[in-house]
């Protein structure tokens, strides 16, 4: 694994990253990835207080990493600099700590979900959250589901199950499903769709013990608890991988974190981290690999739908192409238009923050225009926060591609 800091040596100062950087295109508050990353890094010392606060305006979308001709890990340099910045300011701010703890919020709110939703989604409390915490009152916040994915799964029996009509025998492929916080607390239907599609294809699916992947903490500069989460996950997941399971997730952020992001940001080069990383897949990536191996049931029913699909930044950071686009293309009748836009602007929790909400909305403008102009009735995106942002900005319903696949299989979600 490459030493993040050492990659700054590869920078040839060409500023291609700055020219593609979504926040730099819309705000002067962020001086750009080259500036904040490999350039500023030469002026940072572990012995001195952080000299620059503007690096906090990096939204972590990683477009810079993607276009960089030299392989500099710019976004990771920035994420680490943000963590140092907070450390030097006497700790991670309350808001950032809160936004990093999606899981804790989920755990607290779940038993009283309707009340929590009411509390969270009324004008007075949003006003209070803005004034007290700096969370923009307009920003898209999710709603807690009445029942978590884990609860649903455990009611179902808590074990892998063979789907009726599955073409392949159970046991041929074994998957441990990483639902993450979003599919557990907010969108259990995404998890159910993934399970249904995998089982339909004869995959044995278990749901291992797991905690938050830690990405919200990492991107909010809160590294210590993120390290604890990652270690806990490794403890749960490494034995599962050793037992022959692949880790498959529906959140491109969680899977990216398990694959590489946590290892790079936290500098974890343990064997367990390598093992889990190498066996983690995004759900569409996994299904596409099955398809290439001739193992995917392509008996889809036609879906007469026009979909505006946005491959999220987190997916691009996987560097696996756009498997969802290829999968959806197999569904008869489904017309998929792929956005060429860089970023929706939410970047996890970035666009929720009061001073960054407008930046996020401006960053997402080209995408929102694309969705609105596409004439699509439905949008699709692999990342939850992006889905919420797209719906927030356009009013168009946004699904995970796995939900479309499930529908095309005729796997109606009996569980609202």
């Amino acid at each position: 694994m490459a030493d993040v800091e050492a990659t700054l040596d590869a920078c040839i100062k060409c500023n291609i990253c700055t020219s593609y950087c979504p926040p730099a295109q819309v705000t002067g508050a962020f001086p750009g990835p080259k500036y904040a990353g490999p350039q500023a890094q030469r002026f940072r010392s572990p012995r001195e207080p952080s000299p620059d606060a503007s690096v906090d305006y990096c939204n972590g979308c990683r477009v810079c990493n993607l276009v960089c001709p030299a392989g500099v890990k710019i976004a990771e340099l920035n994420a680490r600099a943000r963590a140092s910045l907070f450390r030097d300011r006497g700790g991670v701010p309350l808001r950032e700590r809160l936004l990093g703890r999606a899981e804790l919020l989920g755990r607290l709110a779940r038993p009283v979900a309707p009340v929590a939703n009411l509390l969270l989604h009324n004008a007075a409390s949003r006003w209070a959250a803005e004034v007290l915490l700096g969370i923009d009152r307009r920003a898209p916040l999710p709603r807690f589901a009445n029942r978590t994915f884990r609860e649903w799964f455990s009611r179902r029996g808590g074990r892998a199950r063979e789907a009726a009509g599955a073409r392949f025998t159970t046991g041929r492929r074994k998957v441990a499903y990483f639902h993450g916080c979003a599919a557990n607390y907010y969108e259990p239907h995404v998890g159910r769709a993934a399970l249904a599609v995998l089982e339909r294809n004869g995959v044995e699916v278990i749901v291992p013990e797991q905690v938050c992947c830690g990405l919200p903490m990492l991107s909010n500069g809160d590294f210590d608890p993120a390290r604890a989460c990652f270690q806990t996950n490794l403890r749960h997941l490494a034995p599962v991988v050793e037992a022959g399971y692949d880790i498959v997730g529906t959140s491109t952020s969680c899977t990216l974190t398990l694959k590489a992001e946590a290892r790079e940001l936290l500098g974890d080069d343990s064997e367990a981290a390598r093992l889990v990383g190498e066996h983690t897949y995004d759900v569409c990536e996994y299904l596409m690999a099955m398809h290439e191996a001739g193992e995917l049931d392509t008996g889809f029913e036609p879906l007469e739908l026009r979909v505006a699909y946005h491959p999220p930044c987190q997916l691009n950071a996987h560097r696996i192409g756009h498997p969802a686009t290829e999968l959806m293309a197999i569904i008869p009748g489904l017309e998929v238009e792929e956005s060429g836009a860089a970023c929706c602007g939410i970047a996890g929790t970035y666009g929720l923050k009061k001073e960054k909400y407008a930046v996020g909305m401006a960053v997402g403008r080209p995408l929102f225009d694309f969705v609105k102009d596409s004439g699509a009735t439905v949008a699709a995106c692999d990342s939850e926060t992006c889905r919420w942002q797209i719906t927030h900005a356009t009013g168009v319903r946004c699904l995970h591609p796995i939900e479309l696949l499930a529908r095309a299989y005729g796997l109606a979600d009996g569980q609202a």
Partner: protein
């Protein structure tokens, strides 16, 4: 001929010369300084950036060691802004003799150098990139210094006390009148005219060139020009000065200075302080030695290499270029008692850390000769720029441009703003390299790839010279950077150089800009230095690729 007169004439605009000028001016002497190029152009501007604690010399050269620790304390007081308080470590690596540590510690104690042994684990906590196999570590008060800023601040102080400093004035003749040096004739290289400078006392502080100045007065001063090669890496791999705890040798000190870290040095006698190359084996040796301190060192990006020529003074000739055997202490020569030539003093030897003491001793002698009884005060009065009484910090330039000033950057790598460049131009920079010395323009990874054009544009804008002069300034500057790049061009730095070629050749066609056959005082110097360092490719090649091989 233009005439200038003074009590004291100082020849040489490095640390020592400006130090002498300041001291003399502060004691009320009417002082003139002549430098044949820019301040800092010589050895001071080609140095390691190391504020010695004296530890390096404690075992073999205790006189030097004591001078160092004394001056170390004074410089921290009078010019904290030129110093980064990195501290220093002496580490016994797995390839060094652990017993040397005991000798080292005892010698430091004897010289009064605060030295404390710390555990290997403690050393690794402080510098995590060090080779974990290190056996012992000692902490000393080394520091990182910015000799460029220090000299400029010293010169500014000298001027404030009435000294007149003339750059690009090359001494061509020493005027002897009745066995006494009464002044010099110098050539003003910019205006191409002769100047006569008359002074009661002339101080030869020409560093590695001091022998030549003395020769103009008919005196023989045997200076051993000892070339020391250094290589800067693109970013700091350590934040403490790291020395090998062993008898002094090549490549045994790694200094984090500014945004880079510098490994150095070598020490070899060269015949001519003006004309020397940086050999490929020297660079390879330094990188190998760096690897012993910091694993992965050789894989890091080397930015640039340079060499300084130490003015080592030896009463008699040394055998076989063994320049490490010559003491690093300094010597003041009174040519009246030594050679029967009155009115001339030569101050030589020493090192950057002791420049102030060298100046003090020199001006004490000057005062004695002039019958002036004013004590030295250079150790008491802080230098301009040190008002905040705080050490320099790595992050300071970044902090200074936070909050919107990023758009004013001319040199993005080193965060040099337009204001700074314009100030340097207005202060009479003759070349863009002069601007570099006072601002750090072009000293970062891209080595003027982007800022060279901007600086040439600004130079043209501010001065409105014949455009050929701006073109020449640009070409000179790029060639000046090139000479230091040549020894380390491979991998990422060669890729950078190719981007710089895309800019200047591919986009600008700058190789065809008209310079009207002009040359600056340094055009030939830049080319000649590059020629000394480039070993192959002499024959012009057209079309083909020369000797080729397949791999």
């Amino acid at each position: 001929m233009r005439r200038i007169s003074a009590d004291v004439l100082v020849i040489g605009g490095g640390a020592t010369g400006t130090g002498v000028a300041r001291d003399a001016a502060m004691r009320g002497l009417w002082t003139v300084l002549l430098e044949r190029r820019d301040l800092n152009h010589g050895t001071t501007g080609r140095n390691h950036g190391l504020l010695h604690s004296g530890g390096r010399y404690a075992v073999k050269d205790p006189v030097s060691a004591r001078e160092c620790i004394e001056e170390n304390r004074i410089l921290r007081r009078i010019m904290p802004h030129c110093i980064e308080d990195t501290g220093g470590l002496f580490v016994v690596t797995s390839s060094d003799d652990p017993a040397y540590g005991d000798r080292f510690k005892a010698a430091c104690d004897a010289c009064g150098i605060p030295c404390e042994e710390i555990t290997p684990a403690g050393a690794l906590r402080r510098e995590p990139r060090l080779d974990p196999r290190l056996r012992r570590a000692f902490s000393v008060p080394d520091g990182a210094a910015d000799p460029f800023v220090a000299t400029l601040a010293t010169a500014e102080s000298a001027r404030a006390h009435g000294a007149r400093i003339y750059r690009y004035h090359e001494v061509t003749r020493v005027v002897l009148r009745g066995g006494r040096v009464s002044g010099v004739v110098a050539r003003d290289l910019v205006n191409d005219e002769e100047v006569l400078v008359e002074a009661a006392i002339t101080v030869n502080a020409a560093g590695a060139w001091a022998g030549r100045i003395a020769a103009l007065a008919g005196c023989e001063v045997k200076i051993v020009p000892a070339k020391g090669v250094m290589v800067a890496l693109n970013h700091r791999l350590v934040n403490t000065v790291v020395n090998r705890c062993k008898p002094p040798g090549d490549g045994d000190i790694l200094v984090p200075v500014g945004q880079v870290c510098v490994i150095g040095t070598t020490s070899y006698e060269v015949p001519d302080p003006e004309n020397y190359g940086i050999e490929a084996w020297e660079v390879a040796l330094l990188l190998d030695e760096g690897e012993k301190l910091v694993p992965g060192f050789k894989a890091a990006r080397a930015l640039r290499a340079w060499a300084g020529v130490r003015p080592l003074y030896s009463g008699e000739a040394t055998a076989g270029g063994a320049t490490r055997e010559v003491s690093r202490t300094f010597t003041l020569l009174d040519h009246e008692t030594r050679d029967g030539v009155a009115g001339l003093l030569t101050i030589t030897g020493g090192k950057w850390t002791t420049f102030r003491q060298m100046a003090q001793v020199t001006v004490d002698a000057v005062c004695q000769k002039l019958g002036v009884a004013r004590p030295c005060r250079t150790h008491l009065e802080p230098l301009p720029g040190s008002e905040r009484r705080d050490y320099h910090r790595v992050g300071a330039p970044l902090r200074a441009v936070e909050g919107g000033r990023q758009a004013e950057l001319v040199c993005e790598c080193e965060l040099v703003t337009r204001d700074q460049v314009e100030t340097a131009i207005d202060a009479g920079a003759v070349t863009l390299d002069d601007v570099r010395r006072s601002t750090r323009l072009g000293m970062g990874p891209c080595q003027a790839g982007f800022c060279g054009y901007r600086a040439a544009g600004l130079l043209h804008e501010r001065r409105q010279p014949a455009v050929q002069e701006a073109n020449l300034a640009l070409r000179d500057f790029l060639q000046e950077r090139w000479k230091g790049l040549l020894p380390v061009l491979w991998g990422r730095q060669l890729r950078q150089a190719r981007l710089d070629e895309l800019i200047y050749l591919g986009i600008m066609n700058a190789e065809r800009l008209d310079t009207g056959g002009r040359k600056s005082p340094l055009t030939d110097f830049y080319l000649q230095q590059a020629e000394s360092s480039a070993h192959g490719v002499e024959q012009p090649l057209t079309g083909g690729g020369g000797q080729e091989r397949h791999g």
